[in-house]
């Protein structure tokens, strides 16, 4: 990095802080920015600042949004009595992309991870309880990831809500659509047999 001028060095070191970006990739990106038109670079810089300044968490579901309440929570045509609980906003985006769900969401912003010291206090569970206590919720779909952390979070939510008169469901686990059984791992196959459905 010695050969670069000071402002380029600074740009490289800032870009290298991004996830998955090492020093070489950062230098390549910095060189691209250097060659790009001033207009393009301004647009990039402005969009980054705008994201940071304008995006906040939805007051209801905690999904990042520009408004006080996100477009999903605003949509009165969606089923207001069903909440799908997800770990992160990208899980919400994936479910929305599928188009298979027309209820509301709740983003926990994490999952129970004892080895990393992430406990119930670090998750947005109190907001979920508040929503349940204040609204007429019929069903909670727990859509945390099907790994140890996600399963533990699902069990925790189940324990917390067991006294409430709400239907609690968990997303299904099993072989993916279009999959080939001989290439599926043992655990997924055993789960798919455990949770088989009647025809």
């Amino acid at each position: 990095m010695k050969a670069y001028a000071q402002p380029i060095k600074r740009l490289i070191s800032e870009l290298a802080k991004l996830p998955g970006i090492g020093e070489k990739t950062a230098a390549r990106l910095a060189n691209y920015i250097l060659r790009a038109t001033e207009d393009d670079v301004c647009k990039l810089a402005e969009s980054m600042v705008e994201v940071k300044r304008k995006i906040k968490l939805c007051r209801i579901c905690l999904n990042p949004t520009e408004e006080d309440i996100c477009y999903i929570c605003h949509d009165k045509t969606r089923d207001q009595e069903v909440i799908c609980v997800v770990e992160e906003p990208d899980a919400l985006a994936a479910i929305e992309e599928s188009g298979g769900f027309r209820g509301l969401y709740h983003v926990l912003h994490g999952a129970l991870a004892p080895l990393d010291g992430i406990g119930p206090d670090n998750l947005r569970l109190s907001e979920l309880l508040l929503r349940i206590n204040n609204g007429h919720i019929r069903e909670i779909i727990i859509a945390t990831n099907p790994n140890v952390h996600g399963e533990a979070t699902a069990l925790l939510i189940t324990r917390m809500l067991k006294e409430k008169d709400i239907k609690l469901t968990r997303i299904a686990t099993g072989v993916p659509m279009g999959g080939d059984l001989k290439y599926i791992d043992k655990m997924t196959i055993s789960k798919s047999l455990e949770f088989r459905r009647g025809m």
Partner: protein, 257 residues
């Protein structure tokens, strides 16, 4: 130039760390090499080669290569032997199993083989999967691990006057000195909690008790609290930090267990 050697071993997954976009650095506790760290290339996106294999406390069979003992291993393959389904279906058991592997991680230096620690983890995870959770099992695991790691506290006699533990006597535990003192030798402050000879004897008993008999032990509330205070205080002192997974376990217990 030395070539890369290939090894195969049974290992428990202790911890995973994201590395770059798709790789994981995985910490294992293996039967043949003790604690070892390896990189699993493309593991985060893997649907076949590394699908579901790096889950905490899973027992796996790994094949890895490395140039020398002090270098990060390259994980070639990893297959599940047991993912302890019964533990994963129960919140408290999941948290206790996480605490077990967290302790093993903290008390094991990298590259130092200790088959007894591997066996201890294997036995206690099996016990946890088969039986109801109990404070006794957690305390006895701590006692046994401390002994195997070379940090066993002195509980069978007073560390000052060397008098063996006797019934009816009150004792005080000194984490800095690594053992108990009888009421005569200890100079307790007002806030120091005494511990009963019964607690001390139970912990000593649990240290060597047959694993199948642990399920029969049920600690009373006072005995559970005393033994917890002794061992957690001592572990925190030895490690010079709190064990994160224990903190989470206690947070969850307070909330809903």
């Amino acid at each position: 130039m030395t070539g890369r050697e290939t090894h195969k071993t049974k290992a428990f997954v202790l911890h995973c760390l994201n590395y770059g976009e798709a790789d994981l650095i995985v910490t294992f506790y293996s039967s043949d090499f003790g604690k070892l760290k390896g990189i699993a290339k493309g593991a985060k996106n893997s649907k076949k080669r590394f699908a579901n294999v790096f889950e905490p406390f899973s027992l796996t069979s790994i094949i890895f290569t490395r140039k020398s003992r002090d270098m990060l291993a390259f994980i070639d393959s990893c297959e599940i032997i047991d993912h302890y389904d019964a533990i994963r279906h129960d919140l408290e058991k999941t948290l206790i199993a996480s605490y077990f592997i967290d302790l093993v991680d903290h008390f094991s230096p990298e590259g130092k083989k200790n088959e007894k620690i591997f066996e201890l983890l294997n036995n206690f995870l099996t016990l946890l999967g088969q039986e109801k959770t109990s404070d006794a099992a957690v305390r006895f695991f701590e006692m046994r691990l401390l002994r195997l790691a070379g940090f066993e506290p002195t509980l069978d006699h007073c560390i000052t006057c060397k008098t063996p533990v006797a019934n009816g006597t009150a004792y005080y535990f000194y984490a800095q000195e690594g053992g108990i003192k009888c009421a005569g030798c200890a100079k307790p402050e007002r806030y120091d909690q005494s511990i009963s000879a019964g607690t001390v004897r139970t912990l000593l008993l649990g240290k060597d008790m047959d694993i199948d008999k642990i399920k029969l032990i049920n600690l009373s509330n006072s005995l559970a609290a005393e033994s917890r205070n002794i061992l957690i205080g001592f572990i925190t002192h030895v490690l010079s930090r709190e064990v994160k997974s224990l903190k989470v376990l206690e947070q969850v217990r307070k909330l809903c267990l």
